[in-house]
């Protein structure tokens, strides 16, 4: 299971999300039979409402880092990051806005 570090901080009416996901982000290579293993989709929800969704491929570096911003958000609000990979596995992490 992949580990996620998720931080959300609000300042002057804007919430900044920072996420670090432990994942190999491996594509297929010639002469290597190791199966591809990479994230395909990530989503951020604020109080269970989607604010950012992304479709990604192997062009994102290993152990992906993302930062996003949105207007609003109060201290204590629920923020969730959800990912799905190319093998159909998913993972998620909840945090509270600080």
């Amino acid at each position: 299971m992949s580990k996620i570090r998720l931080l959300a901080k609000t300042k002057n009416g804007t919430t900044q999300i920072k996420a670090l996901i432990k994942h190999p982000m491996r594509g297929t290579k010639e002469g290597d039979s190791t199966p591809a293993d990479y994230l395909r989709e990530i989503k951020c929800t604020h109080n269970d409402k989607v604010v950012i969704s992304a479709i990604i491929g192997t062009g994102i570096s290993k152990n992906p880092y993302f930062s996003f911003k949105f207007k609003g958000g109060s201290k204590g609000d629920k923020l969730t990051l959800i990912w799905t990979d190319n093998q159909g596995k998913t993972g998620s992490k909840d945090t509270k806005i600080r």
Binding site: R40, A54, I56, T58, I60, S61, F68
Partner: protein
């Protein structure tokens, strides 16, 4: 009881057909939104065609790409993209010399700002292309990054 060659073959065809269907249907059902075609496109133009209906695209100063001029390690190139429009729908990041040029598409809802910061792989010295969809139009900006060590080992 004689099992004729014909019925035996029919049976084999039917089961193999079902297996083939099963394997092709399953991943697309799980991954409904992942645009395979766009990730298979070889050029920036083809990626844009695969992702957007409109192909009219305008260069814009309102997009700022913060990327290093020289990246020592192409496997980890930090980038930051800001799009200064009233309502940004999406930012698409493309590396024009990568074997898979499309890096990712970030979609913004509600109060999300047209902003993304991440780390990308660049195979060689190339342009980071940011395509922004805002107010129903497409805008583009580029930033050249010189890569001293290619990053497509991973």
């Amino acid at each position: 009881m004689a099992l004729s060659r014909r019925t035996a073959l029919k049976g084999i065809l039917a089961t193999s057909g079902a297996i083939a269907l099963g394997t092709t249907v399953l991943p697309t059902a799980v991954m409904a939104d992942w645009p395979k075609k766009a990730f298979e496109a070889n050029t920036v133009d083809d990626v844009i065609k695969a992702l957007f209906e409109s192909h009219d695209i305008e260069e814009s100063q309102k997009i700022s790409i913060n990327a290093p001029k020289i990246a020592e390690n192409g496997a980890v190139v930090p980038i930051e993209i800001k799009a200064d429009f009233s309502k940004v729908d999406s930012i698409t990041v493309i590396g024009d010399k990568n074997p898979v040029p499309l890096i990712g598409q970030f979609n913004f809802f509600d109060n999300a700002e047209g902003y993304v910061k991440t780390r990308i792989k660049l195979a060689s010295t190339s342009n980071v292309v940011a395509v922004v969809k805002a107010d129903g139009k497409l805008y583009v900006a580029r930033s050249a990054v010189k890569v001293t060590l290619g990053g497509c080992g991973g």
